[in-house]
């Protein structure tokens, strides 16, 4: 069920990228899409009633270890999400910089006006 909500968020972002005419709104749509992907990745690792995958003292063996294995959330997708967040940040910074420069050149953020390249 939650995956469906994640998909809806992704579609909202994609709709923003495809249909909006303002450069900034396109960037926001792109960011919403990337957030949806990050949420999806975190949800993959989740376990019902899970605990944080941090091995505390006294949990290295025996009953504590079994409890850890049974309940800990998968940390690998979380690592993937951290990397993905950094990549998306770089893209966001670059896209906003380009949008600002485009505003300086054209005086508007409207993509129907910024259409120098055709054909």
């Amino acid at each position: 069920m939650l995956y469906v909500l994640c998909l809806i968020l992704f579609m909202i972002g994609l709709y923003g990228v495809v249909s909006q005419k303002n450069l900034i709104k396109i960037i926001i749509g792109l960011t919403v899409m990337e957030f949806a992907v990050n949420v999806f990745l975190v949800m993959i690792g989740y376990r019902r009633g899970g605990m944080a995958p941090i091995l505390e003292r006294g949990m290295e063996s025996g009953a504590g270890w079994d409890k850890f294995l049974a309940q800990a959330v998968d940390p690998l997708p979380q690592a993937m999400v951290l990397t993905a967040i950094v990549i998306n940040l770089a893209v966001l910074a670059l896209s906003v910089a380009i949008a600002m420069r485009l505003y300086q050149k054209y005086g508007t953020y409207d993509i129907t006006v910024i259409r120098g390249l055709r054909g």
């Binding site: 792109l30 380009i98 485009l102």
Partner: protein, 511 residues
Amino acid sequence: MNIDPQTLLPLMIVIPMGMGFILPLMGKRLTRVDDVLASLTTAVLLCLSLMLLVHQVQAGKTEVYWMGGWRITNSGTVFGINLVLDGLSVLMLILVGVVSFAATLFSSRYMDQYTGRSKYYGLFLLMVTGMNGAVLTGDMFNLFVFVEIAAISSYALVAFGCDRDDLEASFKYLVLGSVASCFVLIGIGLLYSEFGALNMAQLGERMTGAKSSMSILALMLLLSGLGIKAALVPFHAWLPDAHPSAPAPISAMLSGVLIKAIGVYVIVRVVFNVYGFTDQLGMALMVLGTISMVVGVILALNQWDYKRLLAYHSISQIGYVVLAIGLGTPLGILAGLFHMANHAIFKSLLFLTAGAVEFRTGTRQLEEMGGLAQKMPNTGRSSMVASMSISGVPPFNGFFSKLLIIIACVQAGHWGFAIWAVVVSILTLASFMKVQKYAFYGQVKEKWAKVREVPAVMQVSMVLLAVLCLAMSLLIVPGLRQAILDPATKALQQGVSGYQEAVLGLLGSGH
């Protein structure tokens, strides 16, 4: 000579990354030093990749380097990230090395028109890092990270000139590229959730047998995302804007190696070594390839902007490569990889000649040029060599690779695709005869009376690539073919089981 790949493999990533961070910092104080250092870096990378080729020829097996020494648990689960050197990786490394070396030589004078040169070299070397990493890595998510490194550097490099057209083209490229990355990341996430592995060899191991619908969905998402990066039709919309707007050496890199290293190579690696090649998948690739071929060349016929025309032809030639690889037969894969290598050389040469012409005349419109071969003889000759290569005129390399592709199609029984390949080749020839006639031959217009040849360094890089265009025809000769092209073909043909055995079976090698 004792070549140790265990030290060389991480160097292929560390050297450009390190220089890419150092050059912007020191470029402010000393002029021209950044040119020399950048060219030296790419020359070193080219030499290292040739050394790795020699090692590959001698040793004949796949080398694996485990990052940080993290490897495999007792139960056989991979938890490290590895770098894999097989025949295909070596071929891609050499292509990246050659084209980046020619482009840095060319940039040393071409970039006189732009400011911020040290940052340009920083971004350029980061792009090279991304490409080297993408072709070497054996882990799916690491592949995504390196593809992103190369892609983000290329977004910034396309916008480098900061003109209205450059910025618009870069923004379009950025948006489409980021959508592609989202698709690829969801695909990788789906694969992980289904199979619990990110290492490509282990994914292949766990994915054998009938494919669940989740893995097919993941494959479709991956192909869509990677198809955007490889500029296959219908995902090609960013390329005709982005490639002309970039500075000429960057256009050469983008068309020459980037769409191959982060597009075609990744598709091919995922399809052959992770999923396993099936006839349906092959037919899908062949159809995509043929549509790209035809649409690319038809749209190119109408272009009068030199670089935009070249960009459309890139789409068309990548279509050839994907068509050939989609055949799945050994000859088909060989032909596709050979054409990929040839295209890297002649397309980057074409973009460099376009840049040379733009450097001296200030225009990219074919109708305004004329008779430039008399004023710029070396540029004219190199451009003629590249035009003949791309059109498939013997004895240049394009002829042999296109002939192999057509023969492979006919041998596999796909006559329709072979006919399309021939038709597209004829149209490519027509298009390039137009380019040669309008740009280089004919009357010299009065405004070009004072045009001189480009500086020597730029001529050297163009002549180097032109000589390679001729020399690469020799890759078909049995001795050289076994050294370079056959291992690359085998790397793909070994399929899922061969790859997994090559990578996971090598627990004993390296530290």
